[in-house]
Amino acid sequence: MAARVLQQCVRTLARPSLRLSSGNLAFRAAVAPAAAIHRPLSFAADSRRTRWVGQSRSPSVGVLCRQYGDLPPLTIETIKDRVMYVLKLYDKINPEKLQTASHFMKDLGLDSLDQVEIIMAMEDEFGFEIPDAEAEKLMTPEDIVQYIADKKDVYE
């Protein structure tokens, strides 16, 4: 099965008209080996239409790799931007007064119920659960960024 897929990959990649989308070709050929040979025109149209998340594909014909779907990698900067964006959307926070070191209760005047809502918004944004015991300690945006970086193994 894999040998047949590779054969068809090489055959379709040899065509000069399809050289532009060779990375997508590798994935497409892995998924639909029979269709790849019979429909070269719709092939290129499909790969132009689809949007791929992640790094750019290597253009070399020899490297055939399977593309898995995944999120872009997290960095401290992106985590901080996303945390601040979510906080600015919260209506009880004044966006001008918001800094990374501003304490929710002391500086921004929120109470514990608001803090719970903020942590739940962070859970939705980043897609993982934050247990109660650790959630009640996160009192500034900087704490939240540090906690997420610890949990997601992001370090610089």
Partner: protein
């Protein structure tokens, strides 16, 4: 039974919000979230332990209602509302 601690109230709030977000119907979901927030905020200043206990009991029962209604709603879900985006 010991009086409800602050941590128990916070965890009940959290559980009710997470369950309310699971409603498939837009109307029920927004109502449940709004009602949970308003109820907890309005009763936040209560000091008497008996009242707190009674309110916590009501909260647990409402949580069970929400869980059952979420399950029922998922059985008969319709298409997404235009408002939801």
């Amino acid at each position: 039974m010991a009086a409800s601690t602050r941590a128990q109230v916070i965890s009940l709030y959290r559980m009710m919000l997470t369950e309310s977000k699971k409603f498939p119907s837009y109307n029920y979901r927004t109502y449940a979230l709004r009602r949970v927030r308003d109820a907890f905020r309005a009763n936040g200043k209560v000091e008497d332990p008996k009242t707190v206990e009674r309110l916590m009991e009501e909260g647990h029962q409402t949580l069970a209602v929400i869980q059952r209604q979420v399950t029922v709603g998922k059985m008969f879900s319709t298409q997404k509302n235009v408002v939801e985006g």
